[in-house]
């Protein structure tokens, strides 16, 4: 009876010991072997990644992966790659990547210098900036009028950081998720809720009475969204970027943009001409 146990233990130790080896392997080889691209994404960030009324896990970010990145991977690896979705949150997305649980974060993650110390980013696929959601007719008109006001923010966002630095006397309240922050705003516990403009537009579009709410203020931050991946894996990163560049160049990106953010989309949000130009200028020649 003793011996099989020893073998089991050896097997366990071997498996556990193997995990770092898997980590050392590059992502393309991992995807080639498993036939799956596993992305970390959101269930509650319309229209980038959310579960729609038909119970399908969809969104702009997920569409980009499915329609632009998967074809690029198929071409590179010469086989059909399947897409697998996993839930990630601001707190778990970097650990999920580094633990090899997901290969790519495709949601609403802002590319920042401090995040680049832990992960690598694709090129920017969406540009927004922080604004405020207020009750219609609120005296708050932007970051200039929030001194001494109670402001809700989503924890883990870059916006709270900026408010703390620029308006230290604003009373900042941070909630871990959007629904709690919106509830606090709806009940008057706070006078405004700050987040990326596009997220506020998504929230407003989904609110019971969208007309009761207004999005105010100039962008007081710059939030370029990128897809994150493990550091130092430039072959994988290149395939991701080629997928995105091809989509921008072929116009697929703008079709998808129209689908989600056009006048008939989930969250109407016209693409500014300068953002369009910026996206196109990220495409390097073949």
């Amino acid at each position: 009876m003793k011996r099989p146990l020893v073998f089991i233990w050896l097997a366990v130790i071997f498996c556990v010991g193997n995990v770092p080896l898997v980590g050392a392997e590059n992502t393309l080889a991992k995807i080639d072997k498993s036939g799956n691209l596993t992305i970390g994404t959101r269930r509650g960030s319309p229209p980038f990644a959310y579960v729609n009324p038909n119970n399908e896990w969809v969104g702009f970010s997920i569409d980009l992966v499915e329609k632009a990145i998967i074809p690029a991977l198929n071409k590179k690896l010469n086989k059909q790659i399947k897409l697998e979705r996993k839930e990630s949150t601001p707190q778990t997305r970097i650990p999920l990547l580094t633990a090899n649980a997901v290969d790519l974060i495709a949601e609403t993650m802002t590319d920042t210098q401090s995040r680049r110390e832990s992960v690598d980013f694709s090129l920017t696929f969406f540009v927004t900036g922080a604004q405020f959601l207020v009750k219609k007719g609120s005296p708050i008109k932007g970051i200039q009028s929030i001194a001494n006001q109670r402001i809700a923010a989503q924890q883990g966002s870059t916006n709270a950081k900026i408010i703390r630095a620029r308006v230290p006397n604003a009373k900042l309240l941070e909630f871990p998720d959007q629904p709690a922050a919106f509830q606090a705003l709806a009940q008057g516990q706070v006078q405004a809720y700050t987040n990326d403009g596009i997220q506020l537009a998504g929230l407003r579009a989904k609110a019971p009475k969208p007309d009761d709410w207004a999005i105010v203020g100039e962008f007081f931050s710059y939030e370029p969204y990128g897809m994150a991946m493990r550091k130092n894996d430039s072959d994988f990163r290149h395939v991701i970027n080629v997928g995105l560049m091809d989509a921008i160049e072929s116009g697929l990106y703008f079709q998808l943009y129209e689908k989600w953010f056009g006048p008939k989309g989930e969250v109407p949000y016209p693409l500014p001409a300068e953002t369009k130009r910026f996206l196109q200028m990220q495409v390097v020649p073949k």
Partner: protein, 241 residues
């Protein structure tokens, strides 16, 4: 693992100060929540053993209602549910003076009060009826029997489960971050936001909770030994004495 650990994020810049602030808020909310929980627990736990049926039902209703609903729901209840019912003046005052913190204290206190109540009831019930009868036969009144015989023994008996509940309460205080209380777990998330160093931030939080809990457990074990009645409650280490 393809990850560069950088432990210095924990003491460079403001992170050290954040952790300290978080620790203080965790301690404040836990201590206030604990006091509320113990008061409610003692009161309702005692009520459940009295011979007046409606009072027993009332206490039982409190316990079952509060312990069978998740703490997270209670957090939202006290913050989002109660606040709109308050008069405007009181509401404004609360909002200026930490509405989330008081909601957190109430949620923790009422939830754990229900759990403390069961511990206290179990402690009183675990004393054999004969002990009570023996006390009465020596000429003590019922109140004296409770005060001099039953409660002193019961309170000693429940020390281990009380330690357990106290540790649970301390750790559950992290749920208050859902209503925006800037406690320890909140601050470790904050560090992650600013530095993108999730592992280091979580490790720091873990170490602080572990240290706090070990300190509480050690202090309670000391109290337990101090007040132990020789031969009454046998503890493995003291060999029944």
């Amino acid at each position: 693992m393809n990850y560069q650990f950088n432990w210095s994020v924990l003491w460079s810049g403001q992170t050290g100060a954040w952790l300290l602030q978080g620790l203080l808020v965790t301690l404040e909310i836990s201590i206030l929540g604990w006091l509320l929980a113990v008061m409610l627990g003692l009161f309702s736990g005692a009520l459940r053993t009295v011979p007046i049926a409606p009072m027993r039902w009332l206490a039982a209703a409190y316990v079952e209602f509060f312990r069978n609903v998740p703490l997270l729901v209670w957090m939202f209840f006290w913050y989002f549910g109660i606040s709109p019912l308050l008069p405007q003046v009181l509401r404004d005052w609360l909002l200026e003076h930490g509405a989330e913190f008081s909601a957190g204290v109430c949620a923790l206190g009422f939830y754990h009060g229900a759990r403390f109540s069961e511990v206290i009831r179990a402690g009183i019930r675990s004393i054999p009826k004969t002990q009570f009868e023996a006390a009465l036969s020596t000429g003590l009144t019922i109140a004296q029997a409770y005060r001099l015989i039953i409660l002193p023994i019961a309170l000693r008996l429940i020390l281990p489960p009380v330690t357990n509940e106290t540790l649970n309460l301390l750790k559950n205080s992290s749920v208050a971050l859902t209503i925006g209380v800037a406690e320890l777990t909140f601050q470790t998330r904050q560090i992650e936001t600013y530095t993108a160093k999730a592992f280091e931030a979580l490790a720091a939080g873990t170490v602080v909770y572990l240290a706090l809990c070990l300190a509480i457990a050690a202090a309670m074990a000391r109290i337990e030994r101090r007040v132990a009645i020789p031969g009454m409650i046998s503890r493995g280490r003291t060999g029944g004495g």
